[in-house]
C-alpha cells in the first residue's frame, strides 16, 4: 500500500467550469474528467496513496472511505492507462496500478 499516485508532469490541463480537460503529450487525445474525477485530479497535485485519496474524497462527499475505495481504484487504473497520472512504489515509478498491485 506504499504506492502513491500523482499527476503526470507530461500533460497539459485546464479546469473548465466543473470539468477538467487533460491532454497528454504522449497521446494526442483529450481526456475529460467529470463528476468526482476533478476532485481526484486536484488532490493528485501532490502524490497520495489510495487510502489518502479515499479519505479525502469520502470526506468531500460525506461518506466513508471504504464506500469510495473500489470505484476510486478503478478510476486511478483508468487514469494510469491513459498515461495522465503516474504511480510510484517505494520511490520507483511503475507503469500501472495493476502492475503496482501485482
Amino acid at each position: 500500500v506504499s504506492v502513491r499516485y500523482a499527476r503526470s508532469p507530461w500533460v497539459l490541463w485546464r479546469r473548465v467550469g466543473d470539468r477538467v480537460v487533460v491532454l497528454s503529450r504522449h497521446r494526442p487525445q483529450f481526456t475529460m474528467l467529470e463528476a468526482s474525477a476533478p476532485l481526484v485530479w486536484q488532490l493528485l497535485a501532490t502524490p497520495k496513496t489510495l487510502d489518502e485519496l479515499a479519505t479525502a474524497v469520502a470526506a468531500s462527499f460525506g461518506t466513508s472511505p471504504p464506500a469510495v475505495r473500489e470505484s476510486l481504484a478503478g478510476s486511478l487504473e483508468e487514469l494510469l492507462r491513459l498515461g495522465i497520472i503516474g504511480a510510484i512504489d517505494d520511490g520507483v515509478p511503475v507503469a500501472s496500478l495493476r502492475g503496482a498491485d501485482e
Binding site: 503526470s8 508532469p9 507530461w10 500533460v11 497539459l12 490541463w13 485546464r14 479546469r15 473548465v16 467550469g17 470539468r19 480537460v21 491532454l23 503529450r25 494526442p28 483529450f30
Partner: protein, 368 residues
Amino acid sequence: MTVLTAPDLLAAVAADGLLGTTHGLPPAPLLDEEFEPLLEQCLSEKLTGALITAIGSGRLAATDLQGHRVSEAHFAAVCHCMELEAALLDVTRVLDEHDIETRVLKGSAAAHLDYADPSDRTFADIDLLVRSDDFDKAVALLLEEGFTRPVPEIRPGFDRRFGKGCTLNSPDGYELDLHRTFVTGPFGLTINLDDLWQLPAPFVLGGQHLMALSRELRLLHACYHAALGDRPPRIAPLRDIARLVLHDDLDEQVVRELAYSWRGDLVVAHAIRSTWETFALADDTALTAWARRYRPDPRQARAYRTYFAESANYAARSWASVRALPTTRQRATFLFALAFPQNGVIGGSALSLRQRMGRAGRGLRAGR
C-alpha cells in the same frame, strides 16, 4: 434603465472582475437575439473565459440554454489552446536542441502568468520571440520541420535586420508568429532588442520549462500590440494591460524608462488610456496618471500616423521606418530592399517598380 450598446456590453463582460470598473452588466438575461452576437464577439475576441466567469459568478444573468452555449464554446476554445500549447512545446524543443533561446509571447504566457486560471485567457496562435541573430536559423529549422511560410521575405536577411518577424503555418494548420521585435515599422525598430532578453519570467508547461518576458516587458508588448494592431484595439490585449497595470508587483518606473528609451511613450500612454476608457476603470495608478497627462512627441505622433492614416500601408510604415534607423548604411540597405524586393514581392503581393514607388510616395505623405 441603461441600455448597453453591443461594444459596451462586450467591454463590460471583459471588465468584469477588474478592480475599479464602473461598467455594469444587465440584471436580467439578454434575449437570445442579443445574446448570440455577444457570444460570437466573445469567441472572435477570445473572451469566452470572461463571459463564462461573469455568468458563473452570477454577475451576468443568463438562461440555462445560454449558459450551456457559452460552456460548450469555451470548452472548445480551451481545448484549442491546449493543442496550441502542445505545438508550442514541440517548437521550443526543436529550437532549444539547436541552442536557440526563445521567449513565449502573449497568449500562453499571459494565460499562465497573468491570470489566476489559465482557462480565463484563450488565444488563437503561438507567438515566440527569438534573437535577431538566430532568426534565419530558426525559420530554416522550422521549414525543415514541415512549416510553410505564406509571405516570403522581402530580401534575404531583411527580417533579421528590419522586420518584426514572420508567420509560419504548421503542417497541422496552426499559426506560429515568430518575432524578433514587437511590431513592424518605426516603433519596432526603436526597441532595444537586448532589453527584451533581460529578467525572463519562467513557467512550466507539460513538464517543460519555458521562458516569457518579465512582467514589465509583457505590459509593454501588450501596449504595442493594442495600440499598433487593430483599430479599435482588440479587447484581449487591453484586458492583459489592465491586469498588468493593476498588479501590485509591477515596477512602473521600469515601464516608463523602457518606453522612453525606445521612443515608444506615445504607444504606451495611448494603450493605457484606451484600456482605462474601454473598461471604465475608476482607480488611477502612477502609470495611468502619467498616461493621462502625456503629450505626444511630434516625431512619435508622425510615426504613429503611418500605422493608421488612411493611405498608410506596409510601404508607408516602412518608409517611416527609415527615419528610425540609426545609420546611413542601414537606411540605404532598407531602401534598396523595398525598391528591389526578392521576386518583386512585398508583403505577399507582386508589384512593379512603378507600383512600389507609388506606394512609397503615398507612404511618405502619410508619414509627414
